[in-house]
Amino acid sequence: MTTEAAGTARPRLPNDRWRALEVAFWLLPVIAFFVFPSYRVLGSQILITGLFAVSLDLILGYAGIVSLGHAAFFGIGAYTAGLLAVHGWHEPLSGLVAATVVASVAGYLVSFLVVRGGDLTRLMVTLGIGLMLWEAANKAHAITGGVDGLSGVTIAKILGVWGFDIGGRTAYIYALVVVFVVFVVLRRLVHSPFGLSLRGIREGGKRMPAIGAPVATRLRAIFTVAAAVAGLAGALLAQTTQFVGIDTLGFPRSADLLIMLVLGGTGRLYGGLVGAAIFMIAQDYLSGIDPVYWQFWIGFFLVVIVLFAHGGILGGLETLRARWRPSS
């Protein structure tokens, strides 16, 4: 056992074992279900947004693609699930699967455009696609309801037993189970050799071909996965709220998502969940107080995080932990 200088953490080999903190983290929403029964609807939406944020982390934190149009896939998933329900297919689980498939196809097609060019180009391409999709959804208002939204999304009981209630109980449990299952899969993906190669691409994309890793193929793959997960999250929202608004595809949603992810910390799978939780809880709490201040303080915190608190909340916690327990 070598002694370490205070403040440096011993580098760990990547492994897939669940750490105690992770278990504790996933107990929190379970506990919250019982302790805060009147906040279940908010809770289900936090979980869904958290999953959406994790999907953005896959391309942003792990692969280094800056996207301002990720809500396009969220919206595609939401509309797929919503339209299926409106046109007679009320079963929720198959609706989720269908939405994920459609979103991943869309993601695959877009991925060809995204792997070219530098950061600004990718930013503009993703932004442009998001905006065009919004225009398309607005134009096709006979199908999508346009800006008025798609109502009449009736969802049958899950597995024939649990129906959606006004208190949000079923929505919460449904969201929690789905989010947890998908998260476990993504976690496995990120800790696999494929996930590590993504990190390699992010840090030194030009060197990766030298070790035989095809950059473009991997980027396309992760983009497709990210789109699929975003679509799944969108479908969850459509099913738990029984409504699809055109704002699910909009630019503000993509921008807010980016903020949430950065707040929580990119490149650390839990960052999206933490960021979404804190952002939405703060927004809910402060929405009674003067809303102009909300926008100012969000802007302020963004500037502060970028200048001083790199890595967001999780990054800050990691630094604290490293300083506190140097021999962990």
Partner: protein, 393 residues
């Protein structure tokens, strides 16, 4: 392990104790949950609605049937149906409101409809203008207006005044398409001819193409529906700049374009515009004078000039107060809706009635012209069509 057990036990105990509702408050207050946008690009919607509500409460006091009326406002920040639905659910289950009101935007109202159906809570729409909203739940009523309701009279007036050929320019979104559809339907039914139509994209800073198309077609008039704000301003400016007014083409629109709240900012380019709408701040009646006075007294100057949304907020509170008086403070969803159906009163805009079958509003639609009154721009009424029902149903 023992620590975790006792921790879990404490938490579950806390949860069950917390479940005791704040039922005591319900006996002495009538809570009204106001869901609208109070920040972001639609901040004026919520701001105006709330200002009108406060005006009513200032004028009539904040107590009715022995109970205090309390407004609980929640911000949707814009069109955010899942947020609106969640806020409605929370207002009903957590804050135990007896009424829901506000709803400046259609998607928010649409998303909340199933919630009020399940909870049997009366919902009063103070602005959202799509026809079909009131059909989504038997607990919804509306005191503002619908787009077809104010578009049809414009077509009727045009036909009556020798305009037989019109070009339509609307924004390409739900409300714009509704306006175009209704105007065209009424206009054609009366023997008029639509010279052409164009739908402009919603994100549209430059209207030169649309105005040029109108100029090329040389119609007698152009009917416009655009979101209030910079689009209306841009179009009107383009209209004047390109000489369409000099060419004798009339500019007709629904009153959304010359919204009283932004009319001053639109400037003198709007002079002479003819619009059809249900409320003008320049309407002369004792009720409107009282409303304007109460509005100024209850709100500070930052809120800006009152417009149709403030008037609707005022009328929203009227409906709520009347229901409370009729039910002696004990608000039951079904009884409230029964009391609302057929309600008539004289609003700051003129006489209004809630249709007993559709639960939507029937009112007088005025034809106004933009003129200078006391040095300020105002929508001056010069003609009217009474008892207009919503033709969209």
């Amino acid at each position: 392990m023992k620590a975790i057990h006792s921790l879990l036990a404490t938490l579950i105990a806390a949860a069950t104790i917390q479940a005791a509702p704040a039922a005591l408050a319900q006996d002495t207050t009538i809570k009204v949950g106001v869901i609208a946008a109070f920040s972001g690009p639609f901040a004026d919607y919520g701001g105006q609605i709330e200002a009108g509500m406060k005006a009513y409460m200032k004028e009539h006091g904040d107590t009715v049937a022995g109970k205090k009326v309390e407004l609980v406002t929640r911000d949707t920040k814009g069109p955010a149906p899942e947020v609106a639905k969640r806020l409605a659910q929370e207002l009903i289950t957590r804050d135990k409101v007896q009424f829901l009101a506000g709803f400046g935007l259609t998607p928010n109202a649409m998303a909340v409809a199933p919630v009020v159906s399940e909870a049997k809570v009366p919902m009063v729409i103070s602005n959202a203008a799509t026809s079909s909203i009131t059909t989504k739940s038997p607990y919804i009523t509306r005191v503002s207006m619908t787009i077809p309701q104010v578009s049809a009279p414009m077509a009727q007036w045009a036909l009556k005044n020798g305009i037989k050929q019109v070009y339509t320019v609307v924004a390409d979104y739900g409300p714009g398409i509704d306006a175009e559809t209704q105007f065209t339907k009424t206009f054609k039914a009366g023997g008029g001819e639509i010279a052409g139509s164009v739908r402009t994209p919603l994100q549209n800073p430059d209207f030169s193409a649309a105005v040029q198309r109108v100029k090329d077609a040389k119609p007698q008039a152009v009917f416009v529906f655009l979101p209030a704000g910079e689009q209306g301003i841009a179009f009107v400016k383009g209209f004047n700049e390109r000489g369409l007014a000099q060419a004798g083409i009339k500019l007709i629109a629904t009153g959304d374009v010359t919204d009283d709240h932004v009319l001053a900012a639109m400037g003198d380019d709007t002079l002479g515009m003819i619009t059809s709408f249900h409320y003008s701040a320049a309407h002369s009646s004792p009720e409107n004078t009282a409303f304007l006075k109460a509005y100024a007294a209850a709100n500070d100057a930052k809120v800006g000039a009152p417009n149709f949304m403030a008037a609707a907020g005022y009328d929203t509170m009227h409906v709520i107060y009347e229901v409370a008086k009729k039910l002696d403070g004990n608000i039951d969803g079904d009884k409230a809706m029964a009391a609302i159906k057929g309600m008539r009163w004289t609003s700051p805009r003129g006489p209004v009635m809630i249709d007993p079958e559709t639960r939507d509003i029937t009112q007088t639609v005025y034809i106004r012209k933009v003129e200078k009154k006391d040095g300020k721009l105002a929508n001056v009424e010069f003609d009217k069509i009474p008892d207009v029902k919503d033709p969209g149903k």
